[in-house]
Symmetry: D2
Subunit: 355 residues, 4 copies
């Protein structure tokens, strides 16, 4: 792949929203992909992207993108790869339409994550699940396919659990989250609700975290994905943080003879297929372990590995489940746009798309 001269045209669906903007930011100067089309709401279709968008990220929006015309959600365009930042209800009808037209749809929406023939993939964790797209295509009669990337908490949790599962087995995972406001999009959380406050509830979040973690860590065998037999219990909270979801984890492993040092070594040594292939968006170390007793912290560590690494700290014994630790994942990069792009890079590198 890396030898290719010509970049693959890609599209971003729902390009004016917060996740859409992150996609656009991360695709600017991408070595393999070239942003060729953007879609938005029916109402704004036809406008120049730069006129339709209120750019909310601290970065300067890429000049080339500003001049693209904003297409309607169901518009036709040429781009083998499509990144979907659509709202759930819109994604539900548009993503199958685009897959049927032959696009490889990498979706951040939750609509099809739990469909049995749709892979829910963290590239370092369960790249083998991508094989299910063959069943998906044949069953649904699509030329293209849908690949999903999961919830912004489930992704870093699955990533951190993967080396533990490989080395020791994982039986139970009890997690409590402290999630950043950017996880709710824009306008998202009202300032009145979160300034100097904690909200101990995020709609449908706990269910997603629990079942998606199980699917990420599940097995692909004989054309089917089986969720991992891991019990996951989540309590999700919103806190007054801008970027980076913090997660306190207690975990029961499959073996009793494991020390904190063993966990730390497993975290540190972990490398996935993206690292082996040297994909452009792959962090060198997918899991960075901090030794300081008061890290990770969202304000300091959310951008480690360009926001693509999970940062782990405070690995220590738990008197109930055996082990506990804290992890931080950048929710709009590793937990959303970046995860999708990494999945697309992986499939492009495998030669499945964009050839």
């Amino acid at each position: 792949m890396s030898q290719e001269k010509k970049r693959i045209p890609v599209a971003v669906l729902g390009a004016t929203g917060m996740v859409g903007q992150r996609f656009i930011e991360m695709l600017a100067d991408h070595p393999w992909f070239e942003l060729a089309a953007v879609t938005g709401s029916e109402r704004r279709a036809g406008q120049r992207y730069g006129d339709a968008v209120v750019w909310r990220l601290p970065s300067t929006p890429p000049a080339a993108t500003m001049d693209l015309p904003l297409l309607a959600p169901d518009a036709e365009f040429d781009a083998p790869i499509v990144f979907s930042a659509l709202p759930t209800d819109v994604a539900e009808s548009i993503e199958p339409l685009l897959a049927s037209r032959g696009h490889a749809v990498f979706s951040n929406a939750s609509s099809y994550r739990m469909a049995e023939d749709v892979p829910l993939v963290v590239a370092e964790v369960n790249a083998d699940h991508l094989q299910i797209v063959e069943q998906q295509r044949s069953r649904r009669g699509w030329k293209g396919f849908i690949v999903t990337n999961g919830n912004c908490v489930a992704i870093p949790v699955a990533l951190a659990l993967k080396p533990l599962q490989d080395a020791f087995g994982v039986r139970k995972v009890l997690i409590t989250t402290m999630q950043a406001i950017t996880g709710a999009g824009y306008p998202g959380v009202a300032s009145y609700d979160i300034l100097g406050n904690v909200i101990p509830y995020i709609n449908t979040e706990e269910e997603k975290v629990e079942i998606e973690t199980q699917k990420f860590l599940g097995a692909y065998r004989d054309g089917a994905i089986t969720s991992a037999p891991i019990t996951v219990s989540a309590q999700c909270n919103r806190v007054a943080v801008r970027d980076g979801h913090m997660v306190c984890v207690s975990v029961e492993l499959g073996r009793d003879d494991v020390s904190s040092e063993d966990l730390i070594a497993a975290f540190r040594e972990f490398r996935g297929e993206p690292q082996q292939r040297g994909l452009p968006s792959a962090p060198t170390e997918p899991i960075v372990v901090r030794d300081e007793r008061d890290r990770p912290q969202p304000a300091r560590d959310a951008d480690v590995g360009e926001g693509m690494a999970v940062v782990v700290g405070r690995v220590r014994p738990c008197s109930i489940l055996g082990h506990k630790f804290v992890l931080l994942g950048n929710n709009t990069i590793r937990g959303a746009a970046g995860a999708s792009i990494l999945n697309a890079e992986l499939m492009a590198d495998q030669g499945v798309i964009g050839a």
Copy 2:
């Protein structure tokens, strides 16, 4: 007690600090107690309290207190009851001195909480532990005694667990906290560290929460206190909240046939000795259960029951330990000054002091 005309003189040690200020605020217009003496650092001793203190609470400081002279830490004064907001190291030497002089010392310091002859008491939870002061007095040869009130997380946790322990038994408690900055005193947490951030570490906090919860829920029998055989595992975090510690709790009960509704009923029906005696600082309902799915919240619920009630919400099943819920305790009132005052009211009402 309530018939008494004359109020009992009381002193506040460490009166210029944040917890000291809370004591003074709560003692203004107290029906039974009258603030008669305040102590501060050696350096400021001799100053008028109003000149020595930088009043940091949003309230107006009580005018009468402003004119009291600030006494040195080891000064002698007439006041049967003493509230200690001393730092740990100072408390270690001063509290025994005052107890030996005959004062009933109600201490918010951690120095003697785990001493085996010192009661660590939440008035609604383990009032019977107060009997150990007799052993304390005779063993140490003191005319007075020390009663402690515990960590600002352990107090509301023990209070919420008490009705569960009584009704169903409690085996395991896994908690994750999101604690307010006022828990660290003043200047406490640097704004650089907490603004838009989470700090996943509070020095010695997890240990305190674990062992104090066990002692609170322990038994007094034959002149000795035995900590409860409950496994407690805590992860403590600091968040950008002013008042009110949030705690996510997962609990394994002693019985399997308990529903969320049973827990809620147990919380709601719970009353302790302070409620039965109608103590002035006792909240009508020590545990208030909110039905909304997004409560409690510190910015909205920290002052329920004048800050003396614990607010519980989101009671629901936990796939790992059986039950989970969220609780909120006002850390400087229920978790500090108010807990001490309630203990003193209880012993005054029992006729043990101030007669």
Copy 3:
């Protein structure tokens, strides 16, 4: 008035919004007024208020109000006094309708503030402007009338300037504001926009502050109100504060021989008609001056005088305009609901309404 036994029935329009909730909170246990009717959006009309509202204030909503039926915006009801927390566009059509039906409408909406026959009144500042309601009634053929109370910045600014105008004359006022998020209602400002941020713009705010301050400080003569010939220049900013608008003021007085001490004395001695009449919601001191060099502060001073006083600090020379100082006004109480209620109390006490 104070001798009256029977309380005057009042209604709150737009009762489910943030300002509506503040009205309801302040009217609970009001000695003169009794909440008899509440209106809301057409869509929710017919519901029980307690079912229609999401109570967002930290207080417990008054139980009696919870059972009131929510009326449609144009519903008929019996209540001589009406408090309007309607959005501007709705207020524009509903307030005249209610005035024509005979209600005394005290409006927090901006729709009629600058109408020449509608008084814009801060009870301590320009109570005499209320006389214009006679022209209003006769000109418009209404049995009732509309009285407005102004913008949440203009109110405290006018209140602070009034004693200076009386004693020294005021020529120019240059102000820069730092305004709380509650000024924008709910959901109001997105947390993404304000967390750790400042927004240097509030839609139409600067214009309102400038012209309303001039009208408040204007003169009523011969049946007409003339705005004061004071030049006002405002820069308005939103900051991450919950309650309380901070305002930095530079002022040029009509005389050159005025010292900071003269200003402070004028602030402290100021009393208006609400204080002279002892109205229930009148703060004892409408302007409280703090001597500390770092006050007022919203987190500490927003509730001074139950939120009805303006707090002033840092009175000192300005090398350009002569004098400068900082002021704080509670935006939802003094700057909104409380200002309206005080106006109604004043007119009730004058015997104009509710007889």
Copy 4:
């Protein structure tokens, strides 16, 4: 200069503090300078820098620097250029010592800013003032010299006023600031004081802003610097923002026939000597004007031009002084470390040092 192969060794004084860390961050990979020595407190001298420092910036500290030994404040070392992030009182004695030893001291401390033979320089504004070092050297008998860079508000204010002064003349400047917490160093502002709050006072800040702005905009003639005859009045506030000082400015120009468009053009066209020379740390546009009505904002614009540009917005008429606008300056980069480094680059490029 840019042709030079060998980088000039530089030292950072007070290297463990917040400004010291910024210097180190900005000097990593600097094309002309190479960090050769770091000093810290007497107490920590001798430790490895990486052991002595608690790195508080979100970036990863440069590995090479971590291994430098921390020198005592008065230690001797080889490095023609010295950047001082010393506290005022230490700077007062150490900086002259180092200047006398022959070092070119670029100081962020306030100790010598107003000394008449010490240049106070913003490289784009008053590079000509650097000539005064000749008087400084001869008068004080030093081989080296001290150049200072001013207060973190005065720097961006002077930078924004410079093109106005050049084109139209400036008579009066009334400013109100909303300053980030990083301006106070570490631990700096207590979280209790600033969370959800505004503090309307910063010790000695207003005086510094006023007199330093006058000196920056003053004239160097015949071996002396004369402060500009501009009246400056400042009100300084601390707000809950991490990086970036916001300033609301009202300005009276020397001419009456100037439009907002004229100001905007002057801002946009402005280039200083650093731009003409293409210094490594010089922003392409020293003043960036945003057209949106709600910009600049610290959370979005603090890093424009790598934190070295001043961002201006909302240029519009002021009814009192003629013109008003909002500006934002990155306080630890443009307002501190970056300003110093730019001054050093300028003098190195002029051939004055490091030859």
